[in-house]
Amino acid sequence: MSANPKAHGGYDVDKVWRDFPILAREVHGRPLVFLDSAASSQRPRSVIEAVDAYERLHHANVHRGVHQLSQEATAMFEHARERVRGFVNAASIREVIFTRGTTEAINLVAQSWGRNQLKRGDEILLTALEHHANIVPWQLVAEQTGAVIKVASMDRRGVVSLDDVAANLSDRTRIVACAHVSNALGTVLPVREITGLAHARGALVLLDGAQAIPHQRVDLAELGCDFYAFSAHKMYGPTGIGVLVGREALLDAMPPWQGGGDMILTVSFEKTTYNELPFKFEAGTPNISGAVGLAAAIDYIESLGIDRIHAHEQRLLEDATRKLLRVPGLEIIGTAPEKAAVISFTLDGIHPHDLGTILDAEGVAVRTGHHCAMPVMEFFNVPATARASFACYSRETDVDALTRALARAREVFS
């Protein structure tokens, strides 16, 4: 309980909870219990206000006008880039490219790097627990280039084995694309080790960081990967903006993937010269207010401390796992020793969709379905699961509300 904040290193979850206005609303006449942060987290007041202030006072197009507003908007947009750089410890702002989200960031690499570098018979190595966003872009580029997709397996706990990654690497492997944290299972992958193995065989590494970035410290200098992708809306920022961080030398050598304004230096009908990094990959007017919101989200996370958020969520994960395992007929899908605060589960005799509806009627929001990870569902031989996911604002009382709602579901189906 947060009644005694000192007990948990001074992390006052009730105060954090109050920072998120939406959490105070009701759903179907009951207090909202939001346990779907892995799909999209909520935004704190500071993010909402930062975006609002930008829209009210500073908006104009960036990198274009000499007028005051354009300069202010440009300064805020570029300030956001520097905040992102510092947050993930990238070497330079030239390595920080704004995208629409993780999905677009991965597609950027697949199309700009992959389409130009991959040759027939080259191999792309994925893992068995990937989100569709880290499968389909590679299938598209494999079709275009004749490259081959290989998949490193996982065990019944949802752990990807390093041995299997090593066994699937070959001299033809050009890139390993894998999740940092699994959205469907919560598994934290040993990405530093995977990167080491891949680099030893001369392959690049792209990490899908969408589910890692809100939960744990991400230090790219330490991880050593070549590309890292994430979305703002899973880390308390707005939708429609995300980031690709890439090694400068690689990005420099990659051709633009979309053409338009902002990504050029000069254009004539004969010849266009491209802008420098990172603008080469940011064609068109970007999501400026989104970047402002992302910067505010980073400020917010840093005001709480990502390590303290991590510790809080891990306590909650432990508590929730213990309580859920006491629910008769409940099976947790994804039992890796190292997990983010995500619990996928099934309840014997009640289909996840019925569960989702009953929980919703109790005010409890969980995700039900295949979580955009159909191969994972196939592996565990379930059509779908229910998934409760936690964030910095999640409380023990939310876990209790979930277990009460599960008991109610049992009642309805008795």
Binding site: H28, I350, H351, P352, H353, D354, T357, I358, A361, T368, G369, H370, M377, P383, A384, V412, F413
Partner: protein, 147 residues
């Protein structure tokens, strides 16, 4: 929004013990229904006598609404003519989707599905079986035509 309205006794009963569950072999026609969003899968086999569905079975996996709806549908359409079935489908569709459509008296047990309309995201669950049956009947119609 009342859960009791969605999960009525009839629905829970048909989910627990689905009627006409299984597979007809041989069958005159069959079709697969799949709702990729939620993973519901359904296989329907039918036997025809002239214009009449003399027998049918369904099998598959899905939520309580989709299983109960398939079970109720199979019971309701068994022995009926194609035109009667398409009339029923129309009525069920209205009841599922139109918020204040009156529930026709000739729906019988199928009326239990009317609670679904308060839960718009679940309408697909209830209608999957009807679309699948339709596909099976259309397929047999085509077959009949080409022969």
């Amino acid at each position: 929004m009342d859960l009791k309205d969605l999960y009525r006794e009839v629905i829970l009963d048909h989910n627990k013990s689905p009627r006409l569950y299984g597979k007809l072999e041989p069958a005159d026609s069959s079709a697969d229904g799949h709702n990729p969003l939620c993973g519901d899968r359904l296989h329907i086999t039918v036997r025809l006598e002239g214009d009449r569905v003399s027998d049918l079975r369904f099998e598959g996996k899905g939520c309580a609404i989709s299983v109960a709806s398939a079970s109720l549908m199979c019971e309701a359409v068994k022995g009926k003519r194609r035109d009667e079935i398409s009339h029923l489908f129309h009525e069920v569709h209205e009841v599922l989707t139109k918020h204040d459509a009156p529930v026709p008296e000739d729906l019988g047990k199928l009326a239990a599905l009317s609670g679904v309309r308060e839960f718009p995201v679940r309408v697909k669950c209830a209608s999957l079986c009807w679309h699948t049956l339709n596909a099976a009947l259309e397929r047999s119609a085509t077959t009949v035509k080409t022969e």
